[in-house]
């Protein structure tokens, strides 16, 4: 197991008008594991807690209950955040918002190298060029700012930034949702190649089962903050849970239509 979540719960408190307040259960006892060199798809409808899980997995938020493990080590034992982030990275949803509009592509991809490695600036630049080649970004984009990038390019920059440290595990939050079908397919193909070349494990969070099942080894369905079903991606026909069934049917109808 490269990454594991055990019984993770998270609720948000919100305020209503004046003195009232309520609680929103986002994750309720979610357990999920990703094996070495495995690609797992986490599929669910909007509001099922997918992005919250991603934030908790990256220590950007704390769970109320439950334990998480990275490479067999519990999150509480990662006192050195740098060691943690060298092994796990994320590609955020809406990748163009994850890029500082004032920075150049080079600065953006270089940021993790600056804080998490001891490489000098020449070695960093070389590493940036390598990774840009791997995600098929032309090197003349190095000096561009994110405002000038297309959606697919922004997604590749985000991906390059996550992969530049060669982490063991990468979470991709809706990596294809804002892209058109052609670019979607290119990105998925590229993920496959990177997975084979760099032996990275991926957790791909998406609402789009049709896209995810192309590359995932295993699909986990999330509903109301917990995993309701897990199947191999070639056995999607056998799902039992009503939400999972609905998603599978929708995906099949969609691919038939295309």
């Amino acid at each position: 197991m490269i990454w594991q979540a055990q019984n993770v719960s998270k609720q948000f408190r919100y305020r209503t008008k004046l003195f009232g307040s309520g609680q929103l259960m986002v994750l309720s006892g979610l357990s999920l594991a990703v094996g070495q060199r495995e690609i797992v798809g986490l599929v669910g409808e909007s509001g099922s807690g997918k992005t919250t899980l991603a934030h908790i997995a990256l220590m950007l938020d704390r769970p109320d209950n439950g334990r998480l493990y990275l490479d067999g080590v519990s999150y509480e034992n990662y006192l050195d955040k740098k060691k943690f982030y060298r092994q796990i990275q994320i590609v955020f949803q809406h990748s163009s918002e994850a890029l500082n509009p004032r920075w150049t592509v080079k600065d953006i991809i270089e940021e993790p190298l600056c804080y998490l490695t001891q490489l000098d600036s020449d070695a960093r630049l070389e590493r940036i060029r390598e990774i840009m080649e791997a995600v098929k970004l032309p090197s003349d984009l190095l000096k561009e700012r994110p405002g000038r990038l297309s959606g697919g390019q922004a997604q590749r920059v985000s991906l390059a930034r996550a992969l530049v440290l060669a982490p063991k595990f990468v979470i991709l939050d809706e990596p294809t949702s804002s892209l058109d079908v052609v670019v979607q397919r290119l990105i998925l193909q590229m993920l496959r190649q990177i997975h084979e070349a760099m032996k990275t494990s991926f957790l791909i969070i998406s609402h789009d089962l049709a896209a995810v099942r192309r590359i995932a080894d295993r699909i986990a369905f999330i509903h109301d903050g917990r995993i309701v079903e897990e199947v191999k991606s070639d056995a999607l026909g056998k799902v039992q849970h009503p939400t999972a069934r609905r998603l599978v049917l929708a995906a099949e109808r969609l691919s038939d239509g295309i």
């Binding site: 949803q93 918002e97 004032r102 993790p112």
Partner: protein, 291 residues
């Protein structure tokens, strides 16, 4: 400019005339500001007379070849006093501005970024400071330490920084939730690095605009304090106190209040225009960046 769409071109065409006007405005106000700075810097060399030398025989003279702007109630050269007053007025306002900017920005950044209980405590402290009228504090400080320009600067700084802290805190709060700040966290950046490299550059343009506009307000506050006798002490020349001294002779020697008044109005106007032009230009750049 490889990816210009029609929408972008339309926006560009619309922005261009504004752009030219704005640049003219920017350079004009900048020239005026440089003029003021030059006067403040070289005042001792430019002044034809000693600004402190009184000559009762010459009092309240209208403008003449010898005294370009006339003389005041003690027969001192108004022109020389105006030039040397620039130094006192502009420098003390600059001191207030830099002190408030540094303290306000630091406090605001940390309050906004840390959030939670820390933010709450800082906020209440700011409420306390802001509830205190500047003039009353200046009176208190003048009472404790004696009236003077330095004490007026101290009093205004003590009151003024809270406003900046609040603005910076609110801006920090909104930038902190941006995805790229989370991304910086996963890149291993510590909070200070995030503040310095991501959040501060994002809010600096807004702070700079607010500061240029505020500089004018501070000059007016200092002039106001001097007018009340809490700022610059006689015989030192300062625009506010010159106005204050001149008001008794308004009807027989109106030049005593017209020229210091015009000097204050000029710098405030130049700063307002400069700040406004900066704001517009930065806004356009943001539009171009596609934000």
């Amino acid at each position: 400019m490889s990816c210009q769409s029609d929408g972008f071109m339309q926006a560009w065409d619309k922005a261009r005339p504004v752009c030219r006007q704005t640049h003219v405005l920017l350079y004009c106000s900048l020239c005026l500001l440089i003029l003021y700075a030059g006067v403040a810097l070289f005042a001792p060399f430019l002044a034809p007379h000693d600004p402190l030398q009184a000559n009762i025989a010459n009092r309240l003279k209208p403008p003449s070849a010898e005294y370009h702007l006339g003389t005041d109630q003690l027969g001192r050269c108004l022109y020389s006093r105006l030039l040397l007053g620039a130094r006192n007025t502009l420098l003390s306002a600059g001191a207030v501005l830099s002190a408030t900017l540094v303290i306000g920005t630091l406090v605001g950044l940390f309050a906004g970024f840390l959030g939670g209980r820390c933010d709450f405590i800082i906020q209440r402290a700011l409420d306390g400071v802001m509830a205190f009228p500047g003039l009353i504090l200046a009176l208190a400080i003048a009472g404790l330490l004696g009236p003077g320009l330095e004490n007026a600067v101290l009093a205004l700084s003590l009151v003024h920084w809270a406003g900046y802290a609040r603005i910076v805190r609110n801006m920090t709060l909104s930038w902190r939730e941006r995805t790229f700040v989370y991304a910086a966290q996963t890149a291993g950046a510590d909070p200070v690095a995030i503040l310095r490299r991501h959040i501060l550059p994002a809010i600096v343009p807004s702070i700079a605009v607010i500061a240029t506009l505020d500089y004018g307000r501070i000059i007016l506050s200092i002039a106001g304090l001097s007018f009340l006798g809490l700022g610059a002490q006689p015989p030192a020349p300062e625009w506010g106190s010159m106005l204050s001294d001149g008001k008794a002779y308004m009807q027989i020697a109106s030049h005593l209040i017209i020229w210091p008044g015009a000097a204050i109005m000029g710098i405030v106007l130049a700063l307002q225009l400069f700040g406004d032009a900066l704001k517009r230009i930065w806004n356009e750049q943001d539009v171009e960046r596609g934000k």
